[in-house]
């Protein structure tokens, strides 16, 4: 017994002496003991790469990345209340860059200009100018690090369209025609009828961007600086006219060729349905392109095509307020008489730092955001569907092999990147709303009115009136001149 005790004591002493020697040399790690609380929206997309890369970054730097997620509809409020009440429990945010219009003037976000200029590993110039200027910069200063590039596009089943002799949609009428023709056909060979069109239309989610993708080509025809939300002189909303009514009609009609419970579908549902072969067409950000090559879930690998958002031959004539046929003067950027207005919806998820965070935590948070955006990481993440990150670096558009390596055929990669690049280069690209309290304009007034319209709770005129009255009330409340100034500034950014 005594021998046993002696052995145990010796072993214990040995463990106590040896363990510290075996521990990693913590002093070499720059952010040892630093915890960074990062707030973003409930994944899996966006949160997934942060949660996956966090421990990886921690092993290199010693920092602990704690990713906190909330539903998308709660993200804005969570950020604002955390900073405004000086709770400051979150040190970094991955959020919609549109909201900088509220966060930057209030002094909540850290100015990252100097850090970015010193950071060679970030390769700032490799980020496409639009994302550097729209998603990252406010008032000439850099406040966010872009992690994602966002354009909405239309995806179609290339195999099905080829089989039935249809071409990809160029106009919204084409979209409806294809959806009508393919609705209730078996598109994935499982013996059950599928859907002509699948669009996420759930309320309090991300569906209002889908609607604006349709409305944009009716509302903006004279280049990016014309804007699609307000009249530039009066700041009156462009939401109560024939063009807007036509966009509402198309949006409603897509539902006739969609799943029965489409009103409850979020982007996760429409993406899942499309990559499992249940839909002929869908409207989405770049995620479908990479989800379609995921061997675990996709049944449509190399059967997917992407096109720039369909356009229209009739647009809003702002002088008369009527819907008018495209003419060279009315639609100077039209292609074969069709006005395309690719919508940079959302702008792309971007990372920012809470100005009130402790200095060392800010350093660690910046290092993490930079690490996420550096080509070594982002060039991989943008090719993985689940990340929700879409290409935003010039190198990601040029390097086709990156996509081939991820599982895309070369033709599919060229088609996918070509659609994004065509949107990015369009002189009539539609910028998202970036004025104070844009979240109230879009996520509340527009979203609620659209939801009521889709549920047939109100008619087209009632919907247009509700949106117009709601937007006018916000503009009057916040100051028309101030809102107009912010709107004009947001439209004049360099691309």
């Amino acid at each position: 017994m005594r021998t046993w005790i002696r052995s145990f004591v010796a072993l214990w002493v040995g463990v106590v002496l040896v363990l510290p020697a075996m521990a990693p040399a913590g002093t070499n790690l720059p952010f040892e003991g630093v915890t960074v609380n990062v707030l973003t929206f409930t994944g899996p997309q966006i949160a997934e790469p942060l949660q996956r890369r966090g421990p990886e970054f921690g092993r290199r730097t010693g920092a602990r990345i704690n990713v906190v997620t909330v539903p998308f509809s709660d993200l804005y409020q969570k950020m604002l209340t955390d900073m405004a009440t000086r709770t400051n429990s979150f040190h970094a945010f991955v959020f919609a860059p549109q909201w900088m219009a509220d966060f930057v003037p209030a002094g909540y976000l850290e100015d990252l200009t100097e850090r970015v200029q010193r950071d060679r590993a970030l390769q700032w110039e490799d980020i496409a100018p639009f994302f550097r200027n729209f998603s990252a910069t406010y008032g000439g200063r850099i406040y966010t690090i872009p992690l994602d590039g966002d354009f909405q596009m239309v995806y179609y089943r290339s195999d099905i369209l080829r089989r039935v002799g249809l071409t990809p949609p160029e106009t919204w009428e084409d979209y409806l025609k294809i959806a009508r023709a393919l609705n209730r056909q078996d598109l994935n060979g499982d013996g059950t009828p599928d859907f002509g069109s699948c669009i996420a239309k759930k309320r309090a989610a991300q569906s209002y961007w889908m609607f604006w993708s349709i409305a944009a080509s009716f509302l903006q025809s004279q280049g990016t600086q014309q804007g699609s939300f307000f009249d530039l002189e009066t700041m009156k909303p462009l939401t109560n006219n024939e063009a807007f009514a036509e966009a509402l009609r198309i949006y409603l009609e897509t539902g006739q060729y969609g799943p029965p419970d489409e009103l409850n579908w979020d982007v996760g549902d429409s993406r899942s349905a499309f990559v499992t072969g249940r839909c002929a067409l869908t409207l989405d950000w770049g995620d479908i392109g990479t989800l379609a090559i995921d061997p675990k879930t996709s049944r449509v690998k190399d059967k997917v095509g992407a096109v720039i958002l369909p356009g229209t031959r009739r647009v809003l004539d702002r002088k008369t307020g009527r819907l008018a046929d495209c003419t060279p003067s009315l639609c100077p950027y039209a292609v074969r008489g069709i006005n395309h207005a690719p919508y940079a919806a959302f702008g792309g998820w971007s990372g920012a730092i809470n100005r009130a965070a402790p200095p060392r935590v800010k350093d660690a948070a910046y290092a993490f955001l930079s690490y996420m955006s550096q080509p070594a990481q982002s060039n991989v993440d943008v090719t993985i569907g689940i990340t929700g990150f879409n290409p935003y670096r010039i190198s990601q558009f040029r390097n086709i092999q990156l996509w081939v390596k991820a599982g895309m055929s070369e033709a599919a990669a060229r088609n996918y990147l070509g659609a994004i690049e065509r949107s990015l280069r369009s002189p009539n690209m539609v910028l998202d709303l970036r004025i104070p309290q844009n979240q109230r304009y879009q996520q509340i007034v527009l979203d609620t009115a659209l939801a009521k319209f889709l549920a047939r709770q109100q008619t087209v005129p009632q919907t247009m009136k509700e949106i117009t009255d709601g937007w006018e009330a916000i503009t009057n409340e916040l100051g028309r001149a101030k809102q107009r100034r912010a709107y004009l500034e947001s439209l004049s950014i360099r691309r």
């Binding site: 209340t81 759930k202 309320r203 419970d261 979240q439 509340i444 609620t448 009521k452 009632q462 409340e477």
Partner: protein
């Protein structure tokens, strides 16, 4: 006349201090302390109630009269008077709160006319039976009920839509009678000498123990006609292409079914206790005298459980107005705003940091709940309890 001075402890009174002045001071101090003791003991509870209930009530009242604005480094509350209430009642939030109002249809006029006649008859009857104060109260009750009827006539007519106020009233006044009816039926069955009744008592109680969010998710899956567990049945019936979520009344019905499923156990357990506590000799005597089961229930059991029933309904009445989790998770308030309750309306406003608007909705809810519960207590509950 009795002295209000509290008694001095005997041991203190018998003590012999060095000086009599000192003793008097000591006695007076002791008496004062004794007199203050109840207040001191009550103070923590009162302070807690004031801090946690009264202060927030006034703060939220102020918030409902203000607008939150963000400024560099923080926020300010700008006083805007009754603007948030005006917005709800006559401004841009009116369709959301009161609904889209259209001229009533013929059935609407008939229903409204009938309801108006009932209210007038109620007032005429009250005029000869109650005192002046009570009559004024009944006039106020009739007026508010009349306004609700008017709102219903206009919002439920073709082209109209109920707002969050009417939707909440539907949840309450349709849901509670159904919950009560089912709860009473189950309680009556479980009070019988049946095999396995103990098992069923536990089973019937389970829904009340599950978190409402869990119930909402469960119903969301159950009611998915295309993918849910009953999908093969719906497919066989040719209903897989139908979605309750697209129809406003279908979605409201789904919310009410979930609410009934969750809260029927509350009625069940209260009514079971009431049924089981009634004296058995009365029942036995009635049955021996040849009364049927129905007669025994209607003439003996029912009058005895009525006061307990009324209390259970009162508790549910207060609680049901606050429904939020089911419509939020099950339908997100949709389609459109069809299933949005007043609490969800307030939450949606709060989520966009329209704190003033949110507080105004919450205060409107408080007015409605207070009016309904006071009316219920005055007109129903008190009468039932007093008659007993």
């Amino acid at each position: 006349m009795r002295s209000r001075t509290p008694p001095v402890p005997r041991a203190w009174a018998e003590a012999k201090p060095a000086s009599s002045a000192h003793a008097r001071l000591l006695l007076r101090s002791a008496a004062w302390l004794e007199a203050q003791a109840p207040k001191v003991f009550l103070l923590p509870a009162v302070a807690l109630v004031v801090a946690l209930s009264i202060v927030p009530l006034f703060v939220s009242l102020y918030l409902s009269l203000a607008r939150l604005q963000f400024v560099p480094g923080g926020f300010v509350l700008q006083f805007v008077g009754v603007a948030n209430y005006t917005k709800l009642l006559v401004g841009i939030e009116r369709p959301h709160f009161l609904g889209v109002l259209q001229p009533p249809s013929v059935p609407g006029w008939i229903a409204g006319g009938l309801a108006g006649a009932v209210l007038l008859a109620f007032l005429a009857r009250s005029a000869s039976r109650v005192g002046a104060g009570a009559f004024v109260g009944r006039c106020a009750f009739s007026l508010v009920c009349g306004l609700c009827v008017w709102l219903g006539m206009h919002a439920l007519s073709p082209g109209g839509q109920p707002g969050t106020l009417l939707t909440t009233l539907v949840y309450v006044f349709v849901g509670i009678p159904v919950q009560y009816g089912l709860g009473l039926l189950l309680a009556y069955l479980c009070a019988q000498d049946l095999r396995g009744r103990r098992f069923f008592r536990v089973v019937f109680l389970l829904p009340m123990m599950i978190t409402p969010v869990g119930i909402a998710y469960t119903f969301r899956i159950l009611m998915d006609l295309g993918k849910g567990p009953f999908a093969p049945i719906w497919r066989a019936l040719g209903l897989s292409e139908v979605s309750w979520a697209n129809d406003p009344w279908g979605a409201r019905l789904a919310v009410m079914i979930g609410d009934v499923w969750q809260w029927t156990p509350f009625m069940f357990v209260v009514l079971l206790a009431a049924i089981e506590s009634q004296p058995e000799d009365l029942l036995e005597a009635a049955l021996v005298d040849g009364a049927s089961r129905w007669q025994a229930f209607w003439t003996i059991t029912w009058p005895q459980i009525l006061p307990v029933s009324s209390t259970a309904v009162l508790i549910r009445l207060i609680e049901a107005f606050k429904i939020v989790d089911l419509p939020n998770v099950l339908t997100n308030g949709g389609p459109g705003t069809a299933t949005e309750s007043l609490t969800l309306h307030a939450y949606m406003a709060w989520r966009t940091l329209d704190i003033g608007g949110s507080a105004a909705v919450a205060y409107m809810l408080l007015f409605v709940v207070t009016f309904v519960t006071v009316s219920y207590v005055q007109l129903v509950h008190r009468r039932i309890v007093e008659e007993r």
